[in-house]
């Protein structure tokens, strides 16, 4: 059967989640939900890259602790980040004594790692799997854009890479929200070449995944308490709403974008937050809390990723997008 959507039979549970964010993010709209807010972006390390690695290490241990497990109980780690060769995740994995699978889906990495982890757990191959994703404003800025001290202006469509790491533990034993479905997305490219306009580049992939998901699962937007995209930002989420309306599906008040909601208006982030840390930290803090409280019964979490690199952009390539969706249902549903 050719179908992009997986329905999990045993429905892996998220038994622990942990989020860690930078100081600017700690003043944003979700400030009361994060587990840990760093006092400065260096996190006591010498470079920003080392700080990002330490954030991942701390997020993983934090999630394991909140799942009331020991590090030795974990069977495998699925993680990814934005840096070249996903060094932050790989070097963080060096500190742990369990196998590691590196995944890369740009800003969609959180959903990708959770979907892969769910398959591993649901298939009965591993008992406890931990997922982790992180991004750091300063490391992303120097890799994708300009040095931090350069006196340039950010274009109005640009977004602010979130400094943060989110991690969660998936298992068949224990209590917590269940992952019931996952839809893997195709890479979609509608020819946007402006690297400052990620939202527009990723919105078509979000539309594609949403349509596929609704078709495969025979659901409509009303079946979900929350449909959350990752970091389309203000512009991108408006485009997604327009695109869906063209296809005859209306996204209502239950649709939200993590990036758009992330920062307060006076924090000067233009179109909102971005980066894998954006969706990861919102999911592991705010959305998890609401699922545990039972305020949300069914959530469609579908972060998008822009799969660009500076080399490809300089060679004149456009920006392809990808979007993976997972459905999480609250414990008692």
């Amino acid at each position: 059967m050719k179908c992009e959507t997986i329905k999990f039979k045993k429905q892996p549970r998220i038994i622990g989640a942990y989020s860690i964010v930078g100081p600017k993010e700690g003043q944003g709209n979700f400030k009361d939900y994060f587990d840990y807010i760093m006092k400065n972006d260096f996190f006591g390390e010498k470079t920003f890259e080392k700080a990002e690695r330490k954030m991942i290490e701390n997020a993983i241990t934090g999630a394991i602790q909140k799942a009331k497990l020991k590090v030795s109980d974990i069977n495998v780690l699925v993680a990814g980040d934005l840096l070249n060769q996903i060094i932050s995740s790989s070097y963080a994995a060096r500190a742990f004594n369990f196998p590691y699978l590196g995944v890369y889906g740009a800003c969609s990495t959180m959903a990708e790692s959770m979907a892969v982890a769910s398959i591993l757990v649901d298939g009965g191959y591993f008992e406890n799997v931990v997922c982790c994703t992180a991004s750091h404003f300063s490391t992303a800025e120097r890799q994708y854009r300009f040095p931090l001290e350069l006196g340039n202006q950010r274009p109005p469509a640009s977004q602010w890479t979130v400094t943060g790491a989110g991690s969660c533990v998936l298992s068949l034993n224990g209590k917590g929200p269940r992952i019931t479905m996952a839809t893997f997305g195709k890479v979609i490219d509608w020819g946007i070449t402006d690297v400052n306009n990620m939202g527009a580049a990723m919105a078509p992939s979000a539309m594609q995944t949403l349509l596929t998901h609704f078709e495969n699962t025979k659901t409509t937007p009303d079946d979900y308490d929350l449909i959350a995209t990752g970091d389309l930002g203000k512009l991108g989420s408006e485009i997604l709403i327009d695109l869906m309306e063209d296809k005859g599906i209306k996204l209502g008040l239950n649709y939200a974008d993590c990036g758009q909601m992330y920062f307060r208006r006076d924090q000067n982030t233009l179109c909102g937050g971005s980066g894998c840390g954006c969706s990861a930290t919102v999911f592991t803090s705010y959305i998890m809390k609401k699922l545990q409280d039972g305020q949300y019964k069914r959530v469609l979490f579908m972060p998008t990723g822009a799969l660009l690199s500076t080399t490809a952009t300089q060679q004149g390539e456009s920006v392809p997008g990808v979007c993976h969706a997972i459905v999480i249902e609250s414990e008692e549903g």
């Binding site: 001290e149 340039n152 509608w190």
Partner: protein, 152 residues
């Protein structure tokens, strides 16, 4: 709809929707900050000529630019210049201080990769094209003058 048409239609749609920078106060800020930097330069120049009477005009300009470059490099180092740049845009990019900032900022940024491969290699990531274009084009102008000179 074929691929090309869709790309075109989508780009058109996005361009219509993309938020635009408001011309005011952005242009005004770049105007007065840029003007002020030039004014400071003129002030330094006149002061030098006043203090050192036998300084040639050319040398005074050279000193003026070096002082401005020093100030910009220092402001970059203490992390002020990027804030100024965010406020004034073209007002801080176009003066020679922007050139200084474009050399100092990658140097500081890539310090973590070491002195040779970090500071020295990355120093010209932004300023490199400026020097290359400037040298090549002015050498070209010089060549034209040389050729014209041969026939005059």
């Amino acid at each position: 709809m074929n691929e090309n048409e869709r790309v075109k239609a989508y780009n058109k749609y996005v361009n219509a929707k993309i938020p635009k920078t408001r011309p005011f106060p952005t242009l005004f800020n770049s105007f007065w900050v840029g003007g002020l930097i030039c004014l400071i330069g003129q002030g330094i120049n006149d002061l030098l000529l006043y203090l050192v009477p036998n300084l040639s005009e050319q040398a005074a300009w050279a000193y003026t630019l070096i002082i401005l470059i020093f100030i910009a490099a220092f402001l970059t180092g203490i992390g002020v210049y990027d804030k100024l740049g965010k406020f004034a845009g073209g007002g801080t990019i176009v003066p020679i201080t922007g050139f200084s900032n474009s050399i100092t900022s990658p140097s500081i940024e890539y310090k973590s990769e070491g002195i040779i491969y970090g500071i020295c290699v990355k120093m010209f990531t932004i300023a490199g094209p400026i020097i290359v274009f400037g040298v090549v084009s002015s050498a070209f102008v010089g060549l034209i003058y040389y050729i014209i000179g041969l026939f005059m």
